[in-house]
């Protein structure tokens, strides 16, 4: 999924522009390929006409899933397990096996041990080396992050934030669902900001960075808590790097924002849709019920590819039902 016009070996004729225009005209309900070059995302084409072009052979490809809410069983989606299993089948059907999967939080619905256990077993069904998870606010309800860590302790260090390098990319997982003061947005908190500063100190500024955080790391809609109180501090630490991609969940819909070299993307859920930010006539960010047959168009997965030496990052957002 590298941008053809950045690849000297690629075809001179580039049909992507025409496809981009058509997909921008009617992009809802079909997968869209995005490339991020120099921090500016561009639509490359819709995939409704066939499978996406195979990623470059040396690309690192991974998949983002989010907001599985295992334990949710209400009208908006009585079968969240079935939705996750459909996503798993989609992942197994990809032309290039992803290196790993990231889950950007709200693994469970009510932080119950049996929900965490079921989610862990379901995620083990994905045929990849590893599923990297971060907590959402639904995973930290009764005892902070303690219950979640009993099932999803990334490094065995008892922390809900971590980093790792793979394929020439520095990955960072964050917890931005706690550390709030009453009446405010949740935050990363001073301890985690301090850790992030130390973690980034040893990373080359030319190394691509991918950050995972559940709640958007920019303020999408403050009255609904769709933002992170101290995200500006994290953005300041990330700004010197040449290629930063932030992957969020929480709001159950695809949105993008670009700030310099930092591109931020929210993902679809695998449980139920939520209203658009501040959507008129709704008033609160609760599950949206849609007619039968519509739900699969609003849930989905995201495939990402990074080609070494390029700052291009290609994203394909794919609904369960195209």
């Amino acid at each position: 999924m590298s941008a053809n016009d950045h690849d000297p070996s690629g075809p001179r004729h580039n049909p992507a522009r025409r496809q981009a225009l058509s997909c921008l005209a009617a992009w809802t309900g079909s997968a869209v390929v995005w490339t991020v070059a120099g921090g500016v995302p561009r639509a490359l084409g819709a995939t409704g006409e066939g499978p996406p072009a195979a990623a470059a052979k040396n690309a690192l490809t991974f998949v983002q899933i989010s907001d599985t809410h295992i334990g949710f069983h209400k009208e908006a989606n009585p079968d969240v397990v079935g939705s996750l299993r459909r996503a798993i089948a989609d992942i197994h059907g990809l032309p290039q096996t992803p290196a790993f999967v990231v889950h950007t939080g709200d693994v469970s619905h009510l932080s119950k041990p049996e929900e965490f256990a079921q989610a862990r077993d379901l995620l083990k069904e994905i045929r990849v080396d590893r599923v990297h998870t971060i907590p959402g606010e639904h995973d930290t309800i009764d005892e902070g992050v303690t219950g979640y860590l009993k099932f999803f302790d990334h490094d065995g260090k008892g922390k809900s934030w971590y980093s790792f390098d793979q394929g020439g990319v520095h990955f960072i997982g964050l917890n931005n669902v706690l550390n709030f003061k009453m009446g405010t947005l949740a935050a990363l908190g001073d301890e985690q900001i301090g850790w992030l500063k130390g973690d980034l100190a040893s990373v080359s500024h030319s190394m691509p960075i991918v950050v995972l955080g559940h709640i958007p790391l920019w303020t999408v809609w403050e009255p609904w808590g769709w933002g992170t109180a101290d995200s500006a501090q994290a953005m300041a630490l990330l700004r010197p790097f040449g290629s930063v991609t932030v992957l969020n969940g929480h709001i159950h819909q695809v949105l993008q924002k670009v700030e310099g070299n930092i591109a931020l993307h929210t993902a679809r859920s695998l449980a139920y849709p939520l209203p658009t930010p501040g959507q008129a006539g709704i008033g609160e960010p609760g599950p949206v019920k849609v007619p039968a047959g519509e739900l699969g168009k609003l849930l989905g997965t995201r495939q990402l590819s990074i080609v070494p030496g390029h700052h291009d990052l290609a994203l394909i957002d794919k609904p369960l039902d195209a």
Binding site: K74, E75, A76, H109, L110, S111, E137, H138, T140, I141, D142, F180, K181, M182, G183, T184, L185, A186, E222, P223, W224, G225, G283, E284, P285, G286, P287
Partner: protein
């Protein structure tokens, strides 16, 4: 102060009917002897209703989550805290002494409420 977490243990109408009965037919003194004062707060549309409430010492407040999204009732001073309340789950707390008790939802900290406990 007592703490209690009730999951669908009391019928929501019972407390309300008792209050109506007391107000309509019985003197306050007898009423107080028959049942301790009690009142209710609904959690709906990501808000506490009412958001602000004033009660007498000894009053039991029952919160009921009417949303499809879980919420909590968690006091700022840690004197009371519910577990995660799923749809129709209830949380009870009896306010023994006077004071102002602010609380929030730990999942959605923009949701806040306050209980004023005053002798009346």
């Amino acid at each position: 102060m007592t703490r209690a977490f009730a999951r669908n243990t009391t019928h929501p109408l019972r407390a309300g009917l008792a209050l109506v009965f007391c107000a309509a037919f019985v003197t306050p003194a007898i009423c107080a002897a028959a049942a301790p004062p009690a009142t209710t707060v609904d959690i709906k549309k990501f808000a506490y209703a009412p958001k602000e409430i004033t009660v007498a010492p000894g009053t039991k407040i029952t919160w009921t989550n009417r949303d499809e999204t879980p919420h909590t009732v968690t006091s700022t001073d840690k004197s009371f805290a519910s577990k995660g309340l799923d749809t129709d789950d209830k949380f009870e707390h009896t306010f023994a002494s006077e004071g102002n008790f602010s609380y929030a939802c730990t999942l959605h900290p923009f949701m806040t409420g306050i209980v004023h406990v005053r002798k009346q």
